[in-house]
Subunit: 312 residues, 4 copies
């Protein structure tokens, strides 16, 4: 068990990195390199590989391993690397944590298991086991819409007492839940609370959250870093301006098609349009139609101009 | 159709008033009088009768009418009166709106219908019909957990163009949804956005919402008014202090029992303990056990002391 | 309380009758008359007015009353009349039961209330209160998809001990639930179990259910009566032939459009095509597009021919 | 791709075998051997290892492999072996299918993926890919409550055209869904439809399903085989007698505790009480309390006596 994990606090923009893929399904290594450079240049505070945005659950084990190696090597200490180890079997998760450790990653992130209906006691024991055994500090990851399970604030509060559990990523989008989580920080101030939906980044940071895991930061890392800083500084004018762009990304880039996979296509097609990596989704998701792609590209260009104006 | 409804903006603390009942199920009129006095003395900006907290769906029509009359008479222009007209049949809703108008109420509030699975087009036409026919301005009321329907932000945006639709009460608790709603205000600044879960009151007002429909304001009206003002003024120290009490009310008063009706019992038992009205729930809900009641009373006393200290 | 309700058993095809409406929203009285004649001529064992198929929750009280009067008058003892009294307030339900009684109806049917999240104890007390006060025998109506509540088999078992609760209509579509319900009949053989989804009519009757509440019997009453009888007689060849048509009605008539209201339009447009009544849905539901209507009409003609062939 | 898979039809009782585990989490090999012998002696038509009842999603890969080897070896052609290959990544699934093939298994079973929200087109392509690549014939496995996805009957109909997709296991419990599935058999009679909830075994077989995947057959294999045969023969008296015991197992053995894991504990504790294998659940599930165990044991003894009487 890692014990010196409280040195650095996890705050700011942790990008839930997409997994660049060739149409064959293999890792687009050059694209991955370019993407990580793009993110580091954009000033992000960390990258979170193998999360939901990274389509981790769909990837084959060898590709997963390859991505951990490549990401850690490319990051090379210039930004934190968090590795998703979510799986329904904790043995598989712990093996991934071991690989993450060997490659120099900073922390691991684990969803509540996503097959059985577990109760709070089972979730608590699950995370305690993970935290006891993981060679890297552990983030809890709550995403009820995907896992069918909600880690209750009271359970999170108990788990926050474990020295190797250092934070929680909440993707519930629930404002009441977030308020309940924040009370944990009164007892353990270094416990890091990161919020999933990027539309809530500003409000969450203003309330006391430590940062956001914002998919759009794959495309526009600087924009989300700027919003994080504006939120920390309570710079209302700037927050307002950026929030408008964030909402436009949400509406125009992530909802270009009615398909469930629209968000994933939105991010990957944008990166493709920017020349960073291939746009292919991991099976079983299927990409969107050409018309929706065109819509993404044209909105992207307009949003890009707005961002440039913002910074000038 | 009412046309002079934009004179006053609906903002601040609009209390979703409980319906005081005798054990017979009849209206506790004296309790209702005392409660309204208590709320007006507490400085609330309006009362919303016949909402979810008012157990409106469980009440018989004669009691509903009685409550409208009594509330409007007691309020007597000293605070706004909003009347819930939610029903699955718009004819019943419009008859209630007529009664509300005749008694001098200020506005009506209507949930999305709560039986059939309706699509956005049907919801849009539903509200346009209500707004065309209602003699009082209309608030949309979104509460997906109860109605199984979510009024999408884009539908709300279209409806906000109707002159007799003056605002929306959102009880979804969803932070992303709120952000999407707020963009309506850029096009129609006087559109009033009120937020349901009181745990989100501060954050919502800070973001630009107009106020909250906060059940706890039945018990402690001044506290919620104070939080609203602190949030408007971005008085972070005060917000922090009050938010802690708000979370305690949420945890200790509303969750004293695992029953689904715990929130309703929490508010009504508190009012009973304060000597304001009878604690009985409307059938088919059944109250909580004696031990849970005792727990509410003792927590209430402690919270009361905290609030007194806060104000001194 | 009614006490002589066990004379007749409720079995066979109880048609959940649509409510024929003019485009103005008023009752299509002539259509209603023709429809009831059509059903009686088709040999159905009862009509159930003001159910989900009858769009009861959307109707105004005066129309509701009018429909009860008209239906009872037209039925005139030639078929049983069951009246839906479902509402979130039991006082409203009981007033409807009184009207039903005065007009000579045979029984009433009440959904679990459909707004609040109630527990089993609350549901039990709710039905006991209804049954104690209702002047007509009461059917429980379980439809979890619409009400968000599931009346557990154990609760149904307790309620079946009440002399004025004479049966249960289950629209859950859940085969395990049905098996659990059927065990009630071992203790109270005259307790009538009617099944909602018509696709399950045959299998349910074979297992021991007493009949079905089958929307398609509005269109083709004889077909469903024939299937009921074939199922009672375990006439496998005939069951197979009819079941194929039942599935075709389900697929082609009820699913002609992707709208949630497709089932309602399917039944009403069919009746319109047969010259029985107007096709208009009650607001807030909106009918389907012309192309879907055409599809219904042409499939209907084909199905009609098949039925004729079946009977010859 | 396998091509001679239509030789044998998959029908009868396919036991979703539990995975016997030591308290250490390792495979209880002797228990597994005894269990398979018990099942074969009970006359079951096949065993389905690594399904939901087998807690497959919680097991580590090495144990999974070990179980496949051991089961195939022990079955040794005396009963069919179906191997669950469900995973969110089809590469992992196909690797398991390869191992199954190498060990002599007969078929594989794959759930819809259980993390992302996939549409019907994605599900279709997913299964076509699996079927194209699998060295063993493939069963589709539909379990909406667990996977959040429902494979629509129309999609199943299309997939039934693939020569390497030989059947579907439906655990939805939905009687309408089953009726829709059964129409597939008119076009492809050898397509095997197996039903999950054992409470529905009799009714499903009577309707035309090929058999059941019945958890209780771990405990009482002969009982379920007898019910299958009685259902095939439409021996109503015997069906009634057995169905009563099936419902008692459902109520007393699977619902001994309110925990979500009660079913799993119910089966495993029963096997433990019968001296067949260890009772431990795979983490993250936690077993039930001692009192619930005692309740299981005593009910089990009573049920055992009833079964003996039945056969005599």
């Amino acid at each position: 068990m890692n014990t010196d994990n409280t040195v650095d606090k996890y705050e700011g923009i942790i990008v839930p990195m997409v997994t660049p893929l060739h149409s064959s399904g293999e890792l687009d290594k050059k694209g991955t390199d370019r993407l990580i450079k793009h993110l580091i240049n954009g000033g992000v505070h960390g990258i979170f590989i193998l999360g939901t945005t990274g389509e981790a659950s769909s990837l084959k084990p060898s590709l997963t391993k390859e991505l951990i190696e490549l990401s850690c090597k490319e990051a090379n200490g210039r930004t934190k690397v968090l590795v998703g180890i979510s799986h329904t079997s904790s043995d598989v998760s712990l093996k991934l944590a071991q690989i993450a450790k060997e490659n120099g990653a900073d922390a691991v992130v684990a969803l509540t298991p996503y097959y059985f209906y577990l109760d709070q006691e089972e979730l608590e024991q699950y995370y305690i086991h993970l935290a006891d055994e993981s060679p890297l500090p552990v983030f809890i990851y709550n995403f009820p819409r995907m896992t069918k399970l909600n880690l209750e604030p009271k359970t999170a509060e108990k788990l926050a007492l474990h020295p190797n559990i250092i934070g929680l990523k909440d993707s519930s989008g629930n404002g009441v839940y977030l308020q309940k989580l924040l009370s944990i920080k009164k007892k353990r101030p270094d416990f890091s609370i990161l919020v999933g939906p990027e539309e809530m980044l500003a409000q969450s940071v203003i309330l006391g959250a430590d940062g956001g895991v914002t998919g759009g930061a794959n495309i526009f890392p600087e924009l989300y870093v700027l919003l994080f800083e504006a939120s920390k500084n309570k710079d209302w004018l700037l927050i307002d301006k950026i929030q408008e762009i964030i909402m436009e990304i949400s509406e125009k880039i992530y909802s270009a098609s009615p398909k469930n996979s629209a968000y994933f296509s939105g991010v990957k097609e944008s990166l493709y349009h920017l020349g960073i990596c291939e746009p292919h989704l991991a099976a079983p998701m299927i990409g969107i139609d050409p018309k929706s792609k065109e819509s993404i590209y044209s909105h992207l260009d307009r949003i890009h101009s707005k961002i440039k104006k913002l910074k000038s």
